[in-house]
Amino acid sequence: MRGLTKTYPGGRRPRGAPPAGPVTASRDIALDIARGEVFGLLGPNGAGKTTLVRQLTGLLRPDAGSVTLLGHDLVRHPRRAPRLLAYLGQESTALDELTVALAIETTARLRGLDADVARREREAVVEELDLAAVAARPLKRLSGGQRRLACVAAALAGRRPVLVLDEPTAGMDPVARRAVWAAIDRRRACDGTTVVLVTHNVIEAETVLDRVAVLDAGRVIACDTPGGLKALVGTDVRLELVWRDEPPLGEPEIAALRAAATVAGRRWTLRLPADRAREAVAAVTAGPAFAALDDFTLATPSLEDVYLALGGRGAGLERS
């Protein structure tokens, strides 16, 4: 993708209010994704991740810039996108009233598979994602996580060299989440499938992604391997303190920590060099501070820290 830009006209406002300015959802985005790579787009809600993948899948025409996918110009030929990639959007409305089995099989048929092949493909994907128990039930009768899993199954049916998955594991329990990650990994290992995965889940990003682009307000603010991104924030560690009672602000050590912390209710979050963090832990685990302390955690930097250190404005990343 080169110089990709998409601006939405300002929305309507109530009479008398000042007119809304145009909203730029993607701002001059340039990314290169290698074949066979699991590439992530990480950012909070509203960062422009979905707008970006909708341009990549030919659903949305960019105002400027180019998208080249496996040698095909998708801005000039958007209808080639469905013949190169499978897309999992955030909505399941089109499949909601079908049974899981029929949703998968119909999607496979519509990706060009013959009836027999589509049926075998459906059986394989149901087995792979452990959906046999719910295969005969309509999607709308399933829990959110199971419905999402069925949609992932439909996206995986009928091989495509590129998978574009918009928050595939949203609302899933850890077992289902792991099954999806394993299925993605299997396709990459066996077929050399390229995967573009939108997420706002830090664990998912750190577990499955080869490289990740961090998006904020329509711009790519960093792009590297998860390890490389974490190296950007250096050796700072994160210290979180949760207070049961009023913290003893009379103590100079505690007052200094308060000044450096991001405070959310009774939770203080601090980013500190390792030696300062050790001193801080010593200070809060002794005397009146310890009596008022409910819990503390000390952690090495995560992609969330990277996001915040890079100037990300939202705090909408998920950490479970």
């Binding site: 909708r54 899948t57 030919g58 659903l59 949305l60 025409r61 496996l70 040698g71 095909h72 958007p78 209808r79 080639r80 996108a81 469905p82 013949r83 190169l84 990639l85 499978a86 897309y87 959007g89 955030q90 909505e91 399941s92 409305t93 089109a94 499949l95 009233e97 079908l98 049974t99 029929l102 949703a103 119909t106 999607t107 048929r109 519509l110 990706r111 060009g112 309509p138 495509r160 060299p161």
Partner: protein, 255 residues
């Protein structure tokens, strides 16, 4: 680096078949209660009208029965399909089909065909019940074989287009309801009793020609020329409505 070969696109007929099969199964699960509502509504209207319309093959009796039978098609194909596409579009559900290599026509036509076929049992039950209630000859009812698909195409095409073109899902629902009310009033009331402007409106409604074809067939010796002429108009309007639906689908799905 050479371009990766494209996976084959799917032809109109296999895609239409797959969409039709999926939609019909979906209709079976989710829409049977609504089909009952549609059928009972039509039978209820016929029972009400029986109080003021005499039995026998007079113009009025035939108009009531034919109008009520086609009303089932209008309820499902026009009203429910407008709601379905309105909701699908509002919720972003069209993305699913737009990222599959299928022709736009296959999705619009497959869905419309499924909704139209779903009306068949309701139409047959209504027509037979009406024929018995008003003592009409039932020999001409085989005309339903042509009336249901042709009126179904016209009304489903119109319903799909309304659902896809309406800027909001609520408006799509409203348009579907209004369309059905029009089909009810203009279809069930005998044409001869309507004032001139309303009669013009009736001529504009695609289902009227299906009603007329069926009404003509409900006499002992039908004028087959008139039946065929009405069905021909219905087919023409149906083709136009489906073309409109396909265009509306393409416009809504690919921005």
């Amino acid at each position: 680096m050479s371009a990766h070969p494209l996976a084959p696109g799917v032809g109109v007929w296999p895609a239409l078949g797959a969409v039709y099969r999926a939609q019909l199964s979906r209709a079976r699960v989710a829409r049977i209660p609504l089909l009952f509502v549609a059928t009972f509504q039509s039978i209820g209207i016929m029972i009400l009208m029986r109080g003021v319309v005499d039995g026998g093959d007079g113009e009025e009796a035939r108009a009531v029965v034919a109008g009520s039978a086609v009303l089932v098609v209008a309820f499902v194909a026009l009203n429910l399909l407008a709601q379905y596409f309105g909701q699908l579009r509002a919720a972003g559900g069209l993305d699913h089909y737009a990222t599959l290599p299928v022709p736009a026509a296959a999705v619009a036509l497959g869905t419309a065909a499924a909704y139209a076929s779903f009306t068949v049992p309701g139409v047959v039950v209504t027509a037979v019940a009406g024929g018995l209630l008003y003592q009409l000859p039932l020999g001409g009812l085989w005309v339903l074989l042509a009336v249901v698909p042709l009126a179904g195409a016209a009304l489903a095409g119109l319903g799909a287009a309304l659902g896809l073109l309406a800027p909001r899902a609520e408006l799509a629902t409203l348009c579907g309801q209004l369309g059905m009310s029009a089909a009810l009033l203009l279809g069930v009331l005998p044409e001869g009793r309507l004032p001139e402007p309303v009669r013009l409106l009736r001529d504009l409604l695609p289902s009227s020609y299906g009603v007329d074809a069926l009404a003509v067939a409900l006499v002992p010796r039908p004028d087959w020329g008139s039946v065929v002429a009405n069905l021909a108009v219905c087919a023409g309007v149906g083709a136009a409505a489906l073309a409109l639906a396909t265009w509306a689908y393409r416009r809504a799905a690919l921005r």
